[in-house]
Amino acid sequence: MNRSIWVFADYRNYFQNRVTLQLLAKANQLAAQIGAEVCAVVLGYKIDEYVAEYIAHGAQKVVVVEHRSLQKYSMEKYAVLMERLARDYQPEIILIGATAFGRELAPRVAKRLGTGLTADCIGLEMTEDGLLRQIAPSFGGNLVAEILTPEHRPQMATVRAGIFQEIPHNNSLHGEVVRIPLPKDLPKDRLRLIAYQRQPQRDQRLEDARVVVCGGRGMGSKKKFKKLFELAQLLAGEVGATRPVVYAGWIDNDALVGQAGRNIRPQILFSFGISGAIQHTAAVTDAEFIIAVNKNPNATMMKMADVAVVADANQLCSALIKELKDRIQT
Protein backbone atom coordinates (compact mmCIF):
# COMPACT_ATOMS: atom_id res chain seq x y z
CA MET A 1 0.00 0.00 0.00
CA ASN A 2 1.18 3.54 -0.73
CA ARG A 3 2.33 5.62 2.15
CA SER A 4 -0.03 8.49 2.60
CA ILE A 5 -0.55 11.74 4.44
CA TRP A 6 -4.18 12.51 5.18
CA VAL A 7 -5.87 15.84 5.58
CA PHE A 8 -9.33 15.89 7.13
CA ALA A 9 -11.56 18.01 4.90
CA ASP A 10 -13.27 20.62 7.06
CA TYR A 11 -15.42 22.34 4.45
CA ARG A 12 -18.17 23.79 6.63
CA ASN A 13 -16.89 27.36 6.33
CA TYR A 14 -15.01 26.77 3.10
CA PHE A 15 -14.80 30.36 1.95
CA GLN A 16 -13.83 31.87 5.28
CA ASN A 17 -11.60 29.18 6.66
CA ARG A 18 -8.91 27.94 4.34
CA VAL A 19 -7.14 25.74 6.84
CA THR A 20 -7.83 22.52 4.91
CA LEU A 21 -6.21 23.99 1.81
CA GLN A 22 -3.27 25.21 3.85
CA LEU A 23 -2.79 21.73 5.28
CA LEU A 24 -2.94 20.20 1.80
CA ALA A 25 -0.08 22.48 0.79
CA LYS A 26 1.98 21.51 3.82
CA ALA A 27 1.18 17.84 3.28
CA ASN A 28 2.56 18.14 -0.26
CA GLN A 29 5.90 19.38 1.09
CA LEU A 30 6.08 16.65 3.71
CA ALA A 31 4.97 13.94 1.28
CA ALA A 32 7.72 14.82 -1.16
CA GLN A 33 10.28 14.04 1.53
CA ILE A 34 8.99 10.60 2.42
CA GLY A 35 7.63 9.56 -0.96
CA ALA A 36 4.00 9.55 0.16
CA GLU A 37 0.78 10.61 -1.49
CA VAL A 38 -1.47 13.38 -0.22
CA CYS A 39 -5.04 12.38 0.45
CA ALA A 40 -8.05 14.45 1.53
CA VAL A 41 -10.82 12.70 3.42
CA VAL A 42 -14.26 14.18 2.75
CA LEU A 43 -17.29 13.06 4.73
CA GLY A 44 -20.70 14.52 3.97
CA TYR A 45 -23.50 14.81 1.46
CA LYS A 46 -23.46 16.55 -1.93
CA ILE A 47 -19.81 17.35 -1.64
CA ASP A 48 -18.54 16.96 -5.19
CA GLU A 49 -17.71 20.63 -5.37
CA TYR A 50 -15.34 20.32 -2.47
CA VAL A 51 -13.77 17.17 -3.86
CA ALA A 52 -12.87 19.09 -7.01
CA GLU A 53 -11.56 22.01 -4.98
CA TYR A 54 -9.29 19.81 -2.90
CA ILE A 55 -7.82 18.20 -6.00
CA ALA A 56 -7.21 21.62 -7.52
CA HIS A 57 -5.38 22.53 -4.32
CA GLY A 58 -3.05 19.56 -4.23
CA ALA A 59 -4.90 16.42 -3.09
CA GLN A 60 -3.61 13.50 -5.17
CA LYS A 61 -6.33 11.30 -3.81
CA VAL A 62 -9.68 11.98 -2.19
CA VAL A 63 -11.43 9.43 -0.03
CA VAL A 64 -15.15 10.18 0.00
CA VAL A 65 -17.90 8.85 2.18
CA GLU A 66 -21.13 10.40 0.98
CA HIS A 67 -24.50 9.78 2.54
CA ARG A 68 -27.61 11.68 3.43
CA SER A 69 -27.10 10.92 7.12
CA LEU A 70 -23.80 12.86 6.96
CA GLN A 71 -25.49 16.02 5.77
CA LYS A 72 -24.64 17.76 9.03
CA TYR A 73 -21.33 17.44 10.83
CA SER A 74 -21.73 14.70 13.43
CA MET A 75 -18.97 14.21 15.95
CA GLU A 76 -19.71 10.60 16.73
CA LYS A 77 -20.20 9.42 13.15
CA TYR A 78 -17.15 11.30 11.93
CA ALA A 79 -14.94 9.94 14.70
CA VAL A 80 -15.98 6.36 13.98
CA LEU A 81 -15.59 6.82 10.22
CA MET A 82 -12.15 8.40 10.55
CA GLU A 83 -11.07 5.59 12.82
CA ARG A 84 -12.27 2.87 10.47
CA LEU A 85 -10.83 4.50 7.36
CA ALA A 86 -7.49 4.98 9.12
CA ARG A 87 -7.45 1.33 10.19
CA ASP A 88 -8.14 0.24 6.62
CA TYR A 89 -5.71 2.54 4.83
CA GLN A 90 -3.08 3.09 7.55
CA PRO A 91 -1.94 6.62 6.78
CA GLU A 92 1.41 7.70 8.19
CA ILE A 93 0.10 11.10 9.20
CA ILE A 94 -3.30 12.72 9.74
CA LEU A 95 -3.52 16.52 9.80
CA ILE A 96 -6.67 18.24 11.04
CA GLY A 97 -7.49 21.95 10.99
CA ALA A 98 -7.90 23.40 14.47
CA THR A 99 -11.43 24.65 14.01
CA ALA A 100 -13.70 24.09 16.99
CA PHE A 101 -14.93 20.93 15.28
CA GLY A 102 -11.44 19.76 14.35
CA ARG A 103 -10.13 20.34 17.86
CA GLU A 104 -12.84 18.06 19.21
CA LEU A 105 -12.69 15.47 16.44
CA ALA A 106 -8.90 15.01 16.43
CA PRO A 107 -8.51 13.91 20.08
CA ARG A 108 -11.39 11.47 19.70
CA VAL A 109 -9.90 9.90 16.59
CA ALA A 110 -6.45 9.78 18.20
CA LYS A 111 -7.87 8.07 21.26
CA ARG A 112 -9.76 5.54 19.18
CA LEU A 113 -6.61 4.74 17.27
CA GLY A 114 -4.50 4.68 20.42
CA THR A 115 -2.07 7.19 19.02
CA GLY A 116 -0.66 10.59 19.98
CA LEU A 117 -1.84 14.05 18.99
CA THR A 118 -0.18 17.44 19.17
CA ALA A 119 -2.46 20.48 19.40
CA ASP A 120 -1.99 23.76 17.57
CA CYS A 121 1.28 23.14 15.80
CA ILE A 122 3.11 26.18 14.45
CA GLY A 123 5.48 24.07 12.36
CA LEU A 124 5.65 20.61 10.84
CA GLU A 125 8.79 19.01 9.40
CA MET A 126 10.11 15.57 8.59
CA THR A 127 13.11 14.38 10.58
CA GLU A 128 15.96 12.50 8.96
CA ASP A 129 14.37 9.32 10.22
CA GLY A 130 11.15 10.13 8.44
CA LEU A 131 9.19 11.07 11.55
CA LEU A 132 6.88 14.03 11.78
CA ARG A 133 8.44 16.73 13.92
CA GLN A 134 5.51 18.60 15.46
CA ILE A 135 6.49 22.04 16.67
CA ALA A 136 4.08 23.54 19.17
CA PRO A 137 4.06 26.28 21.80
CA SER A 138 4.27 25.06 25.35
CA PHE A 139 4.39 26.32 28.91
CA GLY A 140 2.13 29.27 28.35
CA GLY A 141 3.81 30.47 25.19
CA ASN A 142 7.30 31.21 26.44
CA LEU A 143 8.70 28.08 24.94
CA VAL A 144 8.47 25.97 21.87
CA ALA A 145 8.47 22.20 22.10
CA GLU A 146 9.39 19.71 19.42
CA ILE A 147 7.25 16.64 19.71
CA LEU A 148 7.44 13.25 18.03
CA THR A 149 5.09 10.30 17.98
CA PRO A 150 7.83 7.72 17.49
CA GLU A 151 6.01 4.43 17.87
CA HIS A 152 2.32 4.94 17.27
CA ARG A 153 0.61 5.43 13.94
CA PRO A 154 -0.75 7.55 12.49
CA GLN A 155 1.11 10.60 13.68
CA MET A 156 -1.52 13.26 14.31
CA ALA A 157 -1.51 17.03 14.63
CA THR A 158 -3.95 19.93 14.58
CA VAL A 159 -3.00 23.28 13.05
CA ARG A 160 -4.80 26.62 13.16
CA ALA A 161 -5.72 28.57 10.07
CA GLY A 162 -3.09 30.92 8.71
CA ILE A 163 0.07 29.08 9.70
CA PHE A 164 0.74 27.63 6.24
CA GLN A 165 0.13 29.04 2.75
CA GLU A 166 -2.27 27.30 0.39
CA ILE A 167 -1.25 26.24 -3.11
CA PRO A 168 -3.11 28.45 -5.62
CA HIS A 169 -6.10 26.83 -7.32
CA ASN A 170 -4.88 24.81 -10.31
CA ASN A 171 -7.49 23.18 -12.54
CA SER A 172 -4.95 21.08 -14.39
CA LEU A 173 -4.13 18.99 -11.32
CA HIS A 174 -5.48 15.47 -11.23
CA GLY A 175 -6.56 13.31 -8.37
CA GLU A 176 -8.02 9.89 -7.84
CA VAL A 177 -11.40 9.76 -6.11
CA VAL A 178 -12.14 6.73 -3.96
CA ARG A 179 -15.77 6.38 -2.93
CA ILE A 180 -16.55 4.30 0.10
CA PRO A 181 -20.11 3.34 1.03
CA LEU A 182 -21.37 4.28 4.46
CA PRO A 183 -20.92 1.30 6.79
CA LYS A 184 -24.26 -0.19 7.84
CA ASP A 185 -23.30 -0.71 11.45
CA LEU A 186 -22.56 2.85 12.54
CA PRO A 187 -23.59 3.41 16.16
CA LYS A 188 -26.70 5.47 16.85
CA ASP A 189 -26.01 9.15 17.61
CA ARG A 190 -26.11 9.80 21.32
CA LEU A 191 -25.63 13.50 20.64
CA ARG A 192 -28.17 15.06 18.31
CA LEU A 193 -28.30 18.45 16.65
CA ILE A 194 -31.74 19.90 17.43
CA ALA A 195 -31.39 23.33 15.92
CA TYR A 196 -28.68 25.51 14.48
CA GLN A 197 -28.23 28.94 13.11
CA ARG A 198 -25.39 30.36 11.10
CA GLN A 199 -23.93 33.34 12.92
CA PRO A 200 -23.19 36.56 11.09
CA GLN A 201 -19.80 36.21 9.43
CA ARG A 202 -16.91 37.54 11.39
CA ASP A 203 -15.34 40.52 9.73
CA GLN A 204 -12.16 39.68 7.92
CA ARG A 205 -10.82 43.20 8.15
CA LEU A 206 -7.85 42.44 10.37
CA GLU A 207 -6.62 39.65 8.14
CA ASP A 208 -6.88 41.86 5.07
CA ALA A 209 -5.59 45.11 6.51
CA ARG A 210 -2.48 46.57 4.93
CA VAL A 211 -1.62 48.32 8.18
CA VAL A 212 -2.30 46.84 11.59
CA VAL A 213 -1.75 48.67 14.86
CA CYS A 214 -1.45 46.11 17.62
CA GLY A 215 -1.52 47.00 21.29
CA GLY A 216 -0.54 44.98 24.35
CA ARG A 217 -0.73 45.24 28.10
CA GLY A 218 2.04 47.86 27.93
CA MET A 219 -0.49 50.44 26.71
CA GLY A 220 -1.46 50.69 30.36
CA SER A 221 -5.19 51.32 30.42
CA LYS A 222 -8.36 51.23 28.37
CA LYS A 223 -8.28 54.98 28.02
CA LYS A 224 -4.72 55.04 26.73
CA PHE A 225 -5.40 52.08 24.47
CA LYS A 226 -8.08 54.15 22.69
CA LYS A 227 -5.36 56.27 21.13
CA LEU A 228 -4.46 53.33 18.92
CA PHE A 229 -7.80 53.68 17.15
CA GLU A 230 -6.97 57.23 16.20
CA LEU A 231 -3.58 56.15 14.93
CA ALA A 232 -5.05 53.27 12.97
CA GLN A 233 -7.59 55.54 11.38
CA LEU A 234 -4.89 57.91 10.17
CA LEU A 235 -3.00 54.92 8.76
CA ALA A 236 -6.11 53.48 7.10
CA GLY A 237 -5.48 50.40 9.20
CA GLU A 238 -7.08 48.19 11.84
CA VAL A 239 -6.46 47.69 15.53
CA GLY A 240 -5.40 44.33 16.93
CA ALA A 241 -4.60 43.30 20.48
CA THR A 242 -3.03 40.66 22.69
CA ARG A 243 -4.92 38.41 25.03
CA PRO A 244 -4.45 40.33 28.30
CA VAL A 245 -5.89 43.37 26.53
CA VAL A 246 -8.91 41.43 25.35
CA TYR A 247 -9.39 39.88 28.78
CA ALA A 248 -9.22 43.31 30.37
CA GLY A 249 -12.00 44.43 28.04
CA TRP A 250 -10.03 47.25 26.40
CA ILE A 251 -11.17 45.91 23.05
CA ASP A 252 -13.47 43.26 21.62
CA ASN A 253 -12.43 39.63 21.46
CA ASP A 254 -12.60 39.87 17.67
CA ALA A 255 -9.43 41.94 17.67
CA LEU A 256 -7.33 39.22 19.26
CA VAL A 257 -4.22 38.56 17.22
CA GLY A 258 -2.56 35.25 17.85
CA GLN A 259 -3.08 31.58 18.03
CA ALA A 260 -6.41 31.87 19.75
CA GLY A 261 -7.43 34.69 17.43
CA ARG A 262 -6.50 35.99 14.02
CA ASN A 263 -3.48 35.70 11.81
CA ILE A 264 -2.40 38.88 10.11
CA ARG A 265 -0.11 39.68 7.20
CA PRO A 266 -0.01 43.47 6.87
CA GLN A 267 2.52 45.49 4.92
CA ILE A 268 3.31 47.34 8.13
CA LEU A 269 2.66 46.17 11.66
CA PHE A 270 2.93 48.63 14.51
CA SER A 271 3.31 46.81 17.82
CA PHE A 272 2.87 48.81 21.02
CA GLY A 273 3.71 47.45 24.48
CA ILE A 274 3.71 43.80 23.47
CA SER A 275 6.18 41.34 24.96
CA GLY A 276 6.06 38.84 22.11
CA ALA A 277 4.81 35.53 23.51
CA ILE A 278 4.83 32.83 20.84
CA GLN A 279 1.03 32.55 20.82
CA HIS A 280 0.97 36.12 19.62
CA THR A 281 4.04 36.21 17.38
CA ALA A 282 3.16 33.01 15.52
CA ALA A 283 0.30 34.95 13.97
CA VAL A 284 2.33 37.98 12.86
CA THR A 285 5.38 36.40 11.24
CA ASP A 286 4.01 37.18 7.79
CA ALA A 287 3.98 40.91 8.44
CA GLU A 288 6.27 42.50 5.86
CA PHE A 289 7.62 45.18 8.13
CA ILE A 290 7.37 45.47 11.88
CA ILE A 291 7.83 48.57 14.01
CA ALA A 292 7.80 47.61 17.69
CA VAL A 293 7.65 49.99 20.62
CA ASN A 294 8.56 48.75 24.06
CA LYS A 295 10.24 50.10 27.16
CA ASN A 296 12.19 46.89 27.36
CA PRO A 297 14.74 46.55 24.53
CA ASN A 298 15.07 42.84 25.22
CA ALA A 299 11.41 41.93 24.71
CA THR A 300 11.00 39.18 22.10
CA MET A 301 8.78 41.45 20.03
CA MET A 302 11.65 43.93 19.77
CA LYS A 303 14.01 41.21 18.61
CA MET A 304 11.77 40.25 15.73
CA ALA A 305 11.00 43.80 14.63
CA ASP A 306 12.58 45.63 11.70
CA VAL A 307 12.52 48.80 13.75
CA ALA A 308 12.73 48.44 17.53
CA VAL A 309 11.84 51.66 19.30
CA VAL A 310 12.84 51.80 22.95
CA ALA A 311 10.25 54.21 24.31
CA ASP A 312 7.02 54.65 26.18
CA ALA A 313 4.27 53.27 23.99
CA ASN A 314 1.77 56.03 24.79
CA GLN A 315 4.12 58.87 24.15
CA LEU A 316 5.26 57.41 20.89
CA CYS A 317 1.70 56.79 19.79
CA SER A 318 0.76 60.40 20.49
CA ALA A 319 3.82 61.69 18.67
CA LEU A 320 3.01 59.52 15.64
CA ILE A 321 -0.57 60.79 15.57
CA LYS A 322 0.58 64.37 15.68
CA GLU A 323 3.14 63.85 12.95
CA LEU A 324 0.72 62.02 10.66
CA LYS A 325 -1.92 64.74 11.05
CA ASP A 326 0.73 67.16 10.00
CA ARG A 327 1.94 65.25 7.03
CA ILE A 328 -1.08 63.65 5.45
CA GLN A 329 -2.02 65.65 2.36
CA THR A 330 -5.68 66.49 2.35
Binding site: L143, L191, I194, R198, M304, D326
Partner: protein
Protein backbone atom coordinates in the same frame (compact mmCIF):
# COMPACT_ATOMS: atom_id res chain seq x y z
CA UNK B 1 -30.88 13.77 41.82
CA UNK B 2 -27.97 13.93 39.42
CA UNK B 3 -24.51 12.50 39.96
CA UNK B 4 -22.00 15.02 38.70
CA UNK B 5 -18.23 14.75 38.31
CA UNK B 6 -16.06 17.82 37.73
CA UNK B 7 -12.45 17.42 36.52
CA UNK B 8 -10.28 20.18 37.85
CA UNK B 9 -6.64 20.88 37.10
CA UNK B 10 -4.26 22.97 39.11
CA UNK B 11 -2.24 25.27 36.86
CA UNK B 12 0.56 27.78 37.51
CA UNK B 13 -0.70 31.21 38.54
CA UNK B 14 1.31 33.06 35.92
CA UNK B 15 0.84 32.46 32.23
CA UNK B 16 4.43 33.44 31.62
CA UNK B 17 6.50 30.91 33.48
CA UNK B 18 9.97 32.01 34.49
CA UNK B 19 12.37 30.42 32.03
CA UNK B 20 16.05 30.37 32.80
CA UNK B 21 17.88 30.58 29.48
CA UNK B 22 21.22 29.76 31.09
CA UNK B 23 20.26 26.48 32.67
CA UNK B 24 17.56 25.97 30.03
CA UNK B 25 15.06 24.93 32.66
CA UNK B 26 11.82 26.18 34.03
CA UNK B 27 11.82 27.78 37.44
CA UNK B 28 8.60 26.00 38.26
CA UNK B 29 8.94 26.36 41.98
CA UNK B 30 8.42 30.11 41.60
CA UNK B 31 4.97 29.61 40.21
CA UNK B 32 2.08 29.29 42.64
CA UNK B 33 -0.82 27.06 41.73
CA UNK B 34 -4.43 28.01 41.13
CA UNK B 35 -7.59 26.39 39.81
CA UNK B 36 -7.58 26.41 36.02
CA UNK B 37 -10.09 29.14 35.07
CA UNK B 38 -12.23 27.02 32.73
CA UNK B 39 -12.49 24.33 35.42
CA UNK B 40 -13.99 26.97 37.72
CA UNK B 41 -16.69 27.57 35.11
CA UNK B 42 -17.33 23.82 34.81
CA UNK B 43 -17.73 23.59 38.59
CA UNK B 44 -20.09 26.56 38.60
CA UNK B 45 -22.20 24.85 35.94
CA UNK B 46 -22.36 21.73 38.11
CA UNK B 47 -23.36 23.79 41.16
CA UNK B 48 -26.20 25.41 39.24
CA UNK B 49 -27.45 22.06 37.96
CA UNK B 50 -27.33 20.72 41.50
CA UNK B 51 -29.30 23.68 42.79
CA UNK B 52 -32.03 23.16 40.20
CA UNK B 53 -32.32 19.40 40.16
CA UNK B 54 -30.59 18.21 43.29
CA UNK B 55 -27.35 16.34 42.98
CA UNK B 56 -24.02 15.22 44.29
CA UNK B 57 -20.74 16.69 43.01
CA UNK B 58 -17.40 14.91 43.05
CA UNK B 59 -14.35 17.02 42.16
CA UNK B 60 -11.40 15.07 40.76
CA UNK B 61 -7.89 16.29 40.16
CA UNK B 62 -4.71 14.59 39.05
CA UNK B 63 -1.44 16.20 40.00
CA UNK B 64 1.27 16.55 42.62
CA UNK B 65 0.17 16.36 46.30
CA UNK B 66 -0.12 20.15 46.36
CA UNK B 67 -2.98 19.92 43.85
CA UNK B 68 -5.17 18.99 46.82
CA UNK B 69 -5.58 22.78 47.24
CA UNK B 70 -7.96 23.00 44.30
CA UNK B 71 -10.14 20.31 45.90
CA UNK B 72 -10.46 22.34 49.10
CA UNK B 73 -11.39 25.30 46.96
CA UNK B 74 -13.96 23.23 45.04
CA UNK B 75 -15.50 21.95 48.28
CA UNK B 76 -15.59 25.48 49.66
CA UNK B 77 -17.50 26.51 46.54
CA UNK B 78 -20.02 23.71 47.08
CA UNK B 79 -18.66 20.39 45.77
CA UNK B 80 -19.58 17.45 48.02
CA UNK B 81 -16.28 15.64 47.99
CA UNK B 82 -12.88 15.51 46.35
CA UNK B 83 -10.60 12.87 44.87
CA UNK B 84 -6.87 13.48 44.43
CA UNK B 85 -4.99 11.24 42.03
CA UNK B 86 -1.34 11.50 42.82
CA UNK B 87 1.57 9.22 42.05
CA UNK B 88 5.05 9.78 40.66
CA UNK B 89 4.31 7.30 37.91
CA UNK B 90 1.47 9.51 36.64
CA UNK B 91 3.73 12.53 36.15
CA UNK B 92 4.45 13.90 32.69
CA UNK B 93 1.55 12.20 30.98
CA UNK B 94 0.15 13.59 27.73
CA UNK B 95 -3.58 13.97 27.15
CA UNK B 96 -3.97 10.31 26.26
CA UNK B 97 -2.42 9.19 29.56
CA UNK B 98 -4.30 11.86 31.52
CA UNK B 99 -7.70 10.94 30.11
CA UNK B 100 -7.05 7.24 30.75
CA UNK B 101 -6.16 7.94 34.37
CA UNK B 102 -9.14 10.24 34.96
CA UNK B 103 -11.49 7.69 33.39
CA UNK B 104 -10.24 4.91 35.68
CA UNK B 105 -10.80 7.12 38.71
CA UNK B 106 -14.31 8.09 37.61
CA UNK B 107 -15.25 4.45 36.98
CA UNK B 108 -14.01 3.53 40.45
CA UNK B 109 -15.32 6.49 42.43
CA UNK B 110 -18.51 7.40 40.62
CA UNK B 111 -19.41 4.64 38.16
CA UNK B 112 -23.07 5.67 37.88
CA UNK B 113 -22.42 9.32 37.01
CA UNK B 114 -24.93 11.26 34.92
CA UNK B 115 -22.63 14.02 33.72
CA UNK B 116 -18.89 14.70 33.69
CA UNK B 117 -17.92 18.36 33.39
CA UNK B 118 -14.48 19.52 32.27
CA UNK B 119 -13.09 22.93 31.50
CA UNK B 120 -12.84 23.52 27.76
CA UNK B 121 -9.08 23.95 28.10
CA UNK B 122 -6.30 24.56 30.59
CA UNK B 123 -4.39 27.81 30.74
CA UNK B 124 -1.01 26.10 30.82
CA UNK B 125 -1.32 23.66 27.94
CA UNK B 126 -4.60 24.64 26.30
CA UNK B 127 -4.79 21.42 24.29
CA UNK B 128 -8.55 21.06 24.87
CA UNK B 129 -7.98 17.36 24.28
CA UNK B 130 -8.55 15.82 27.70
CA UNK B 131 -12.35 16.32 27.69
CA UNK B 132 -13.06 14.68 24.30
CA UNK B 133 -10.61 11.87 25.06
CA UNK B 134 -12.19 11.27 28.43
CA UNK B 135 -15.57 10.90 26.71
CA UNK B 136 -14.02 8.23 24.48
CA UNK B 137 -12.49 6.43 27.48
CA UNK B 138 -15.82 6.44 29.31
CA UNK B 139 -17.70 5.54 26.12
CA UNK B 140 -20.27 8.29 26.61
CA UNK B 141 -21.38 11.07 24.27
CA UNK B 142 -19.49 14.32 24.66
CA UNK B 143 -19.82 17.91 23.55
CA UNK B 144 -17.14 20.58 23.77
CA UNK B 145 -17.31 24.37 24.24
CA UNK B 146 -20.72 24.28 25.91
CA UNK B 147 -22.20 27.57 27.15
CA UNK B 148 -25.48 26.41 28.62
CA UNK B 149 -26.75 23.13 30.07
CA UNK B 150 -30.35 22.24 30.85
CA UNK B 151 -31.86 18.95 31.91
CA UNK B 152 -34.98 18.02 29.96
CA UNK B 153 -36.91 14.75 29.58
CA UNK B 154 -34.06 12.63 30.88
CA UNK B 155 -31.50 14.15 28.50
CA UNK B 156 -29.26 17.20 28.42
CA UNK B 157 -30.10 20.24 26.30
CA UNK B 158 -26.87 22.01 25.37
CA UNK B 159 -26.04 25.31 23.69
CA UNK B 160 -22.79 26.25 22.04
CA UNK B 161 -21.33 28.64 19.50
CA UNK B 162 -18.69 27.04 17.32
CA UNK B 163 -17.21 27.76 13.92
CA UNK B 164 -19.84 30.40 13.20
CA UNK B 165 -22.77 28.20 14.17
CA UNK B 166 -25.06 28.56 17.11
CA UNK B 167 -26.07 25.01 17.95
CA UNK B 168 -28.65 23.43 20.23
CA UNK B 169 -27.85 19.81 20.97
CA UNK B 170 -29.55 16.99 22.79
CA UNK B 171 -27.26 14.57 24.58
CA UNK B 172 -28.17 11.23 26.15
CA UNK B 173 -27.38 10.49 29.80
CA UNK B 174 -24.74 9.78 30.92
CA UNK B 175 -22.56 12.23 29.01
CA UNK B 176 -19.67 14.64 29.17
CA UNK B 177 -19.37 18.34 28.45
CA UNK B 178 -16.50 20.79 28.37
CA UNK B 179 -17.54 24.25 29.51
CA UNK B 180 -16.32 27.56 28.06
CA UNK B 181 -15.33 30.59 30.07
CA UNK B 182 -18.05 32.76 28.50
CA UNK B 183 -20.84 31.81 30.87
CA UNK B 184 -21.19 30.28 34.36
CA UNK B 185 -18.96 32.85 36.09
CA UNK B 186 -17.52 30.97 39.06
CA UNK B 187 -18.64 32.11 42.50
CA UNK B 188 -16.11 33.03 45.16
CA UNK B 189 -15.83 30.55 47.99
CA UNK B 190 -16.93 32.16 51.25
CA UNK B 191 -14.49 32.36 54.14
CA UNK B 192 -16.68 30.06 56.22
CA UNK B 193 -16.88 27.74 53.25
CA UNK B 194 -13.09 27.62 53.09
CA UNK B 195 -12.75 27.13 56.83
CA UNK B 196 -15.21 24.28 56.96
CA UNK B 197 -13.69 22.75 53.81
CA UNK B 198 -10.41 22.46 55.65
CA UNK B 199 -12.03 21.39 58.91
CA UNK B 200 -14.12 18.49 57.66
CA UNK B 201 -13.52 17.94 54.05
CA UNK B 202 -14.04 14.64 52.39
CA UNK B 203 -10.97 14.12 50.23
CA UNK B 204 -9.80 10.75 49.07
CA UNK B 205 -6.26 10.23 47.85
CA UNK B 206 -5.61 7.51 45.30
CA UNK B 207 -2.42 6.26 43.67
CA UNK B 208 -1.73 4.18 40.59
CA UNK B 209 -2.06 0.90 42.49
CA UNK B 210 -5.42 1.90 44.05
CA UNK B 211 -6.72 2.53 40.54
CA UNK B 212 -5.04 -0.59 39.16
CA UNK B 213 -3.64 1.48 36.34
CA UNK B 214 -1.81 -0.19 33.49
CA UNK B 215 1.75 1.16 33.86
CA UNK B 216 2.09 1.10 30.07
CA UNK B 217 -0.67 3.69 29.76
CA UNK B 218 0.32 6.34 32.30
CA UNK B 219 2.90 9.03 32.84
CA UNK B 220 5.75 9.77 30.45
CA UNK B 221 6.13 6.14 29.42
CA UNK B 222 2.44 5.71 28.66
CA UNK B 223 2.31 8.79 26.43
CA UNK B 224 2.38 8.25 22.66
CA UNK B 225 3.82 11.74 22.15
CA UNK B 226 7.38 12.49 23.25
CA UNK B 227 8.84 15.94 23.79
CA UNK B 228 12.32 15.80 22.28
CA UNK B 229 13.38 19.39 22.55
CA UNK B 230 12.25 22.58 24.27
CA UNK B 231 13.63 25.99 23.53
CA UNK B 232 12.94 29.67 23.77
CA UNK B 233 12.03 31.02 20.34
CA UNK B 234 13.88 34.26 19.95
CA UNK B 235 14.11 34.58 16.21
CA UNK B 236 16.34 37.63 16.35
CA UNK B 237 16.15 39.82 13.25
CA UNK B 238 18.88 42.25 12.41
CA UNK B 239 16.92 45.30 13.31
CA UNK B 240 17.31 49.01 13.64
CA UNK B 241 17.09 50.16 17.25
CA UNK B 242 15.82 53.69 17.86
CA UNK B 243 16.01 55.55 21.12
CA UNK B 244 15.44 59.04 22.43
CA UNK B 245 12.50 61.40 22.79
CA UNK B 246 9.28 60.44 21.06
CA UNK B 247 9.63 63.41 18.73
CA UNK B 248 13.14 62.48 17.67
CA UNK B 249 12.21 58.86 17.07
CA UNK B 250 9.15 59.76 15.04
CA UNK B 251 11.23 62.09 12.88
CA UNK B 252 13.72 59.31 12.33
CA UNK B 253 10.97 56.86 11.38
CA UNK B 254 9.60 59.25 8.78
CA UNK B 255 13.04 60.18 7.49
CA UNK B 256 13.83 56.54 6.80
CA UNK B 257 10.45 54.98 6.06
CA UNK B 258 8.02 57.68 4.87
CA UNK B 259 7.84 56.03 1.44
CA UNK B 260 7.02 52.65 2.88
CA UNK B 261 4.33 54.10 5.14
CA UNK B 262 2.87 56.19 2.38
CA UNK B 263 2.75 53.12 0.12
CA UNK B 264 0.96 51.00 2.71
CA UNK B 265 -1.64 53.61 3.60
CA UNK B 266 -2.13 54.73 0.04
CA UNK B 267 -1.77 58.43 0.83
CA UNK B 268 0.94 60.92 0.06
CA UNK B 269 2.91 62.26 2.97
CA UNK B 270 4.35 65.74 3.06
CA UNK B 271 8.03 66.07 3.67
CA UNK B 272 8.62 67.91 6.84
CA UNK B 273 9.97 71.40 6.69
CA UNK B 274 11.17 71.89 10.24
CA UNK B 275 13.13 68.68 9.79
CA UNK B 276 15.01 70.27 7.00
CA UNK B 277 15.66 73.28 9.10
CA UNK B 278 17.00 71.07 11.84
CA UNK B 279 19.31 69.46 9.31
CA UNK B 280 20.75 72.71 8.05
CA UNK B 281 21.49 73.92 11.54
Amino acid sequence: MLKLVVCIKQVPMVSELPWDPNTRTLKRNLAEGMMNPACGHALEAALQIKKQHGGHIVAITMGPPMAEEVLYEAIAMGADRGVLLTDRSMAGGDTSATSYTLARAIKKECPDFDLVLCGCYTSDSETAQVGPQLAEELDVPGAAYIEHIAVKDGAFRLHRVTDNFLEVLEMDMPGLVTVTTHTYMPRYPSLEGLQSAFARSDIKILNARDLRLDPAKIGVNGSPTKIINVYSPTAAKKNIVMQGTAKKVVDEIFAKFADRISGAIGKDLKTHYHDNKACTK
